[in-house]
Symmetry: C2
Subunit: 402 residues, 2 copies
C-alpha cells in the first residue's frame, strides 16, 4: 500500500478522498481494508482477482490497480495479457466509487464484519472452490464454525406444505445432532429449513445473494433477523448490494461449498435449487434428495436428480447423518494428537471403506462398493465421514487417501 | 405310462378308480394328464420333481411314483438317495387323492386349461427360474402372449389413494403401449393395476396364490372375472386350492419371472410385494420403484428399495418403457429374417450399449455405464430392450451378448 509521500497514485479507497488512507493498526488490518475495497470492484466469482490476491496479497493488488503508472500493469494471467490490462482498467475506473471507511461505518451500524482467509472463522472448505472462492465474506451474527459441521438444505421457493414440513423436520433433527443448517434465506424450503433449525434451538446460516444488511425477501425480514441473532448471515456481496438472478445462481456455489453435503428437499424441474446440487456434485460433495409424490410437480426436480443415480435418497435425519457422518466425540478429536492414530476413531464401516482404499491412487465409488462390500449410499456416507476427518479427499471422479 | 394288461401298478390318477386311465388321444395329451396329476402331488416350487420331469417326461415319472415295485425307485438327486426315496413315498401316498378326470371336469366347468412347457402360450421366460419353474400353469381367459411384453406391477394391499392412482395410471399407460400388466389380483396396488389396464382397453394377467377357479379375495371377485374375460388368470396351484401365506410368497417368483421388469408402486417396510422385487433382482430383471412422500409409511418400503442403489426410480410410463424397452414395429421384427442384421433395429443408445459389450465375456452395469457413457438407469433400460430382442442376457452379476 502506498504510504504518505510516495510518488504512487492517490489512495482512492478511503473516504478521506484522494488522500492516503489512515495507517492501519496492523498488516492484517490493512489486508482486511484492501479486501473490503476489492469486493467493491468485481462481481464474484472472479478467478483472476482471486489468483492475484493469492499471489501478492490484497494490499499490493489494490495498489497496482490504483497506480497511474502503466509499468504497474498487472501480470498476464491465463486469459492473456491484453485481457488482463483491460480488466485492470475496468477495476481502476471503479475505484472511484470505493469508500472503505463508509463500508466500515455501514458494517458497524448493521453489526456486520468482513471475514477473510486466515481468520479463525474462515470456512476452510471454501478452498475446494479453487479460484471461484470468494475473496472474503461479509457476516452478521455468530462466528462461523470452522469445523465442517454444516449441511446445506435447499429447495424450491414454491414449496408445498409437505416439502416445508419435511425440510423443517430434517433441519431440526440436524440442528439437534449438532449440525449447522445452511440455506439461502428464501421463501419455501429455505425458510422452513432455517425455521426448523431455530425451533430446535440449533444454529443456522443463511447465505444471501445480497448484502447481509439487505432484507430480501421482505417477507423473511423477521426470520433473517432471528438467523442473525442465533446463527449467521453470510454474503460475498458488499453491504447494500441488491439481488439479481445471476447472484442467486453464483451464491449457490457457496451453499454447496459450505455444506459437507447438500440436501434437496423439494424442487420443480426448473428450480434454482438444482444448480446448488450441480455445484455439490462438481465439488464431490454428497447429494441427498428427499423424494415426494410423483404427482407433485414440486418434487419433479428431486426425482430427476435421483434418477441420475449419483444422489442418495433420504427419508429421515438418521439417513442424512449416515451420509455426512456422525459427529460423535471421536469425530472431533484433535487430529494433531500424536497419541491418536488417524484411524483409531473410525467406526467399523468407515474402517472397511478406509481399508478398501489403496495407499496411493484413486478409486471410484462403485469400485469402493465392491472392495468394501457396501452399497453406494453406505460408501458415500462413510466417505463423507472420512473426509470430515481429513482422511480422504475427492480427486477426479474418485477418492484417495490424503 | 403303464398300458392295460401290464403287470405294473394300478393307475390311480383316474376317476375310474384303480383302473388304467383311458388311452389319451396323443402322447402330448398323456403328458398333460400326467402333469395334471403331478401338480396335485407337490407344493410348488419342487425342484426335484421338475428335474425328474425334465429328464424322463411326466408320464414316466408318474408311472414310477405309482409303481409298487421298489425297483422303480426314483433316481437319487442332489439331495441324496434316502431323501429321494422318502419323497417318492410321500408322493405315492398322495396319488390316492388324485383324480385327473375330476380335475378336467372342474376345468371344463370353470373355463380353465392346463398350459404346459411346449405349448405355444407357455411363457419362455419362466425358464429363468431354473428348477424353481412351475411344472405347469392353470390358466383362465385369453392365451398368454409368448412374446415378453409383460410388466409386473406390484405393491401393498394397504395402499393409499396416491398409490392406487399412480398404479392405475402407470398400468393404463403400459396397456396402451401394448404391454400386458401382470399383478397378483390382491386389494390395493394389485387391483388398481389390473383395473388401470382394463380401463385402458389393454390386457392384464393376474397370477394367483390359489386355484384359478377360486375367487380370492372375495371383494375382488368381479375384478378377477373381468380379468378372465379380457386377460388371463394364471396359477401353478391345482383347481380349488386355497391361499396360504407361503403360497403368496411362492407365487411372487412367478410375478417377477413373468414381467420383463417389476414395478413397485407402494409398499410398507414389511410388504410382501418387496419379496417380488427380491425375486426380480435374483432373476436379473430390472426393478423400478415409484417414490412417495417420506411421511407415508405406505412408501417406506419403496424408499428402502431405492436406497439400495440398484433399482430405477420411475415417475411416469415413459420412464417405465425406457427401462423395459419400447415395443415398436422394429422391436418385434422376426429375428429369423436373414435380411435383417441383429442390430439393424436398435436405437442409438441401444447401439451404444451393444457396442460397449465385448464379443465374449461379461460386463457389470457400472462397467457398461463407463464404456457407453450412459447413466445406470439408461444402461438398464437399454439392456432391457436388448434382452427383449434376445441380443443380450444376464449372467452372474453382469450381462453378456447371447
Amino acid at each position: 500500500m502506498s504510504g504518505p509521500g510516495t510518488s504512487g497514485p492517490p489512495a482512492v479507497w478511503s473516504s478521506s478522498g484522494r488522500q492516503a488512507p489512515p495507517v492501519p493498526s496492523s498488516a492484517a488490518e490493512a489486508e482486511r481494508r484492501a479486501l473490503t475495497a476489492l469486493t467493491r470492484l468485481v462481481e464474484p466469482p472472479c478467478p483472476p482477482l482471486v489468483r492475484l490476491v493469492e499471489a501478492w496479497g490484497a494490499c499490493e493488488v489494490l495498489e497496482r490497480i490504483a497506480s497511474d503508472d502503466p509499468a504497474a500493469a498487472l501480470p498476464p494471467d491465463s486469459s492473456g495479457g491484453a485481457g488482463a490490462r483491460e480488466r485492470r482498467e475496468r477495476w481502476r475506473q471503479r475505484l472511484g466509487r470505493v469508500d472503505v471507511d463508509r463500508d466500515l461505518a455501514l458494517a458497524a451500524r448493521s453489526g456486520a464484519r468482513l471475514v477473510v482467509p486466515g481468520d479463525g472463522e474462515w470456512p476452510a472448505e471454501l478452498a475446494d472452490l479453487g479460484d471461484d472462492r470468494p475473496l472474503a465474506l461479509w457476516c452478521r451474527g455468530a462466528a462461523l464454525d470452522a469445523r465442517p459441521a454444516r449441511v446445506a438444505v435447499v429447495g424450491a421457493r414454491a414449496a408445498t406444505p409437505y416439502g416445508e414440513h419435511v425440510a423443517g423436520t430434517l433441519a431440526g433433527g440436524l440442528a439437534q445432532a449438532g449440525r449447522s443448517v445452511v440455506s439461502g434465506g428464501a421463501f419455501g424450503i429455505d425458510a422452513a429449513a432455517h425455521r426448523g433449525a431455530l425451533l430446535a434451538g440449533g444454529t443456522t446460516c443463511a447465505v444471501l445473494a445480497c448484502g447481509v444488511d439487505v432484507s430480501y425477501p421482505k417477507g423473511n425480514e423477521g426470520l433473517l433477523r432471528r438467523v442473525a441473532e442465533h446463527g449467521t448471515l453470510v454474503s460475498e456481496y458488499p453491504l447494500g448490494t441488491g439481488v439479481t438472478r445471476g447472484r442467486f445462481l453464483d451464491r449457490n456455489r457457496l451453499l454447496a461449498a459450505l455444506g459437507q453435503g447438500t440436501l434437496l428437499v423439494e424442487a420443480g424441474l426448473r428450480s434454482g435449487a438444482r444448480s446448488t446440487v450441480g455445484h455439490a456434485r462438481r465439488l464431490h460433495r454428497p447429494v441427498m434428495v428427499v423424494p415426494g409424490p410423483v404427482t407433485s410437480p414440486a418434487s419433479a426436480g428431486c426425482h430427476v436428480e435421483l434418477r441420475r443415480g449419483d444422489a442418495v435418497l433420504v427419508t429421515c435425519v438418521e439417513e442424512v447423518l449416515d451420509v455426512v457422518g456422525q459427529l460423535g466425540g471421536d469425530a472431533v478429536a484433535d487430529p494433531s494428537d500424536p497419541h491418536l492414530r488417524r484411524t483409531d476413531a473410525l467406526g467399523p464401516d468407515e474402517l472397511r471403506v478406509w481399508e478398501a482404499m489403496p495407499l496411493r491412487g484413486v478409486l471410484r465409488v462403485d469400485e469402493l462398493c465392491g472392495a468394501a462390500g457396501l452399497t453406494a449410499p453406505e460408501v458415500l456416507g462413510r466417505l463423507g465421514a472420512l473426509a470430515a476427518r481429513g482422511l480422504v479427499q475427492p480427486e477426479g471422479g474418485g477418492w484417495r487417501r490424503t
